[in-house]
């Protein structure tokens, strides 16, 4: 088939169906479904940037342990450490976001108006594959334990999010680092 013939067919099909509505995933997922999930074993970088601090976790190869870099607004000097079991808790949470409910457009708009981007935490999860990194905004649901708003690709969800994770990240290397050899 010539290229011209293909274009004629495509044009005819678009003429026939072009006016039909373009579905963009209007239905939402059921509670408990993962709105984002990635195999933690494939992750090579996580960044978590709030208004007060920033955590960068990086490893060049998946067989390596993560190196953590903590930048704290109160303490300009970066702190680095090798990741330990505390970071595993963080990684497991950030690589599996389970839906509680989806906000409708009005709710999402109001939430974003009340809470400008500067108040949200930016999360980026990058794996070693060619798939583009996951980028989202995250914010705890006020007065509700273990829930967070997550916003990405124009959609806002309430997801399960363990309070422990925020506490671990806030502690920096104190709770995220691997025990030093003399402590093991």
């Amino acid at each position: 088939m010539t290229r011209f013939a293909r274009y004629v067919i495509v044009a005819a099909l678009l003429g026939l169906f072009g006016a039909s509505s373009h579905s963009v995933g209007a239905q939402t997922l059921s509670p408990g479904a993962e709105v984002f999930a990635v195999d933690p074993a494939k992750v090579i970088e996580v960044t978590y940037r709030s208004s007060k601090m920033m955590l960068i976790a990086h490893r060049w190869q998946t067989r390596d342990r993560f190196t953590l870099i903590i930048l704290d607004k109160q303490n300009r000097k970066p702190v680095t450490c090798l990741a330990g079991p505390g970071f595993d808790v963080v990684l497991n949470q950030l690589t599996s976001l389970k839906l509680r409910r989806a906000l409708n457009a009005k709710e999402a708009k109001e939430l974003l108006q009340k809470n400008p981007v500067s108040l949200w935490t930016e999360v980026v999860v990058r794996d070693y594959t060619a798939v583009e990194p996951f980028r989202a905004l995250l914010m705890p649901v006020p007065d509700v334990p273990n829930e967070a708003f997550v916003h990405f690709n124009g959609v806002t969800y309430v997801v399960d999010f363990a309070d422990q994770v925020s506490q671990l990240i806030s502690s920096g290397c104190k709770l995220l680092a691997a025990p030093s050899p003399h402590q093991e």
Binding site: L14, S30, E132
Partner: protein, 125 residues
């Protein structure tokens, strides 16, 4: 119970199994001649909904990635119904395919996304 997904490129179908029991059977459109869908055995290693590819500037909702170069099972978003595109691909030209992803109708993509956890085996043949 072991879950697995079987993509049949000749039939342009996606079937889902729990152990040996088939639980879903959907139509799909896979890659075109220039961007064939890889054959082989893979695992779903990432899921995301919604997903928008900046590289290709396209929506890929209910995305379940199974190859490291970014091929996924996902929702088809084109204006022409998927069954028409599938018929064109099978009957007129392989040109009516995707860039390697396996595209599904919205309800099928959503159902499969909710059903398949990370690690689900995907066989493409």
């Amino acid at each position: 119970m072991k879950k697995r997904i079987a993509v049949n490129l000749e039939e342009q179908t996606v079937q889902a199994f729990e152990d040996d029991n088939q639980v879903y059977d959907f139509i799909c459109v896979s890659g075109d001649d220039d961007h064939p869908t890889d054959k082989g055995v893979f695992n779903i290693f990432r899921k995301q909904h919604p997903y928008r590819s900046k590289t290709y500037n396209v929506d890929m909702d209910y995305a379940m990635f199974f190859t490291e170069d970014g091929k996924a099972l996902h929702q088809y978003h084109g204006p022409v119904p998927l069954e028409v595109v599938r018929a064109m691909k099978q009957g007129v030209s392989e040109w009516f395919g995707s860039h390697g992803c396996v595209r599904l109708e919205e309800e099928a993509a959503r159902t499969l996304y909710e059903w398949a956890p990370l690690g689900t085996k995907v066989t493409v043949k």
